[in-house]
């Protein structure tokens, strides 16, 4: 499900899947921002990829790889706090 990631010195990042490439036209960007949809129950969750840590391994996770399973996605302010 979550594929193992080779680790280098760089800090890997993930992000939304299928995101529009950013343009230099700031006016167009602000229009896109206003059109960003709210999350709604009954609608598809936006797909994303993200690096992570699991059971002694660094992994790369894609939300859509979990289709067919129930997913609990939890965000929290920071490590070493409570959840």
């Amino acid at each position: 499900m979550a594929e193992q990631e080779e680790v280098g010195c760089a800090r890997p990042t993930g992000g939304p899947v299928g995101e529009e490439p950013s343009t230099e036209n700031s006016q167009q960007q602000s229009v896109q921002k206003e059109e960003r949809k709210m999350i709604m129950v009954g609608q598809k969750a936006p797909d994303f990829v993200a690096p992570g840590y699991q059971n002694g391994k660094f992994v790369n996770v894609r939300l859509s790889d979990y289709l067919g399973k129930w997913v609990l996605l939890c965000f929290y302010p920071g490590d070493f706090t409570f959840v």
Partner: protein, 132 residues
């Protein structure tokens, strides 16, 4: 998922969480540098630069069935999250033939939505069932 790197996640799991949970956290601890994923889920606090306590229940079709967002000082109720998950699973298993009224927990009475139930909920469901 938080804005911390996967390296910090490892240190947290190694140094602290393994002391709370035998074997450490079993599921992926994800890194969202810059809050890019948090932003599309609407829970990233731009001014503080951190994710708020957003929690999403996503069904096997990838559809969001429920979410809850709390500001950082207040922690979540894991039992309530699991109760909601069990309720959504029951609804899905019955293909919507059964619904779970307020206060439902596994083993408690469900409702069967239909024309026969209109105006009759009071007969089959009592307000004390809303509470544990």
């Amino acid at each position: 998922m938080s804005i911390d790197s996967m390296f910090v996640h490892k240190m947290w799991d190694d140094d602290e969480l393994k002391k709370m949970v035998s074997g450490g956290v079993p599921f992926p601890m994800l890194s969202d540098a810059g809050g890019r994923v948090g932003k599309i889920f609407g829970i990233f606090d731009e001014s503080a630069g951190v994710e708020t306590r957003g929690r999403f229940i996503i069904d096997p079709d990838g559809v969001v069935q429920g979410f809850e967002v709390l500001s950082p000082p207040v922690g979540r109720n894991v039992s309530e999250t699991l109760r909601q998950l069990q309720a959504f699973q029951l609804v899905r298993e019955t293909k919507g033939a059964e619904a779970t009224p307020s206060g439902w927990r596994p083993g408690k009475q469900t409702l069967k939505p239909g024309i026969g139930l209109v105006g009759k909920v009071w007969e089959v469901w009592k307000t004390n069932q809303a509470f544990d």
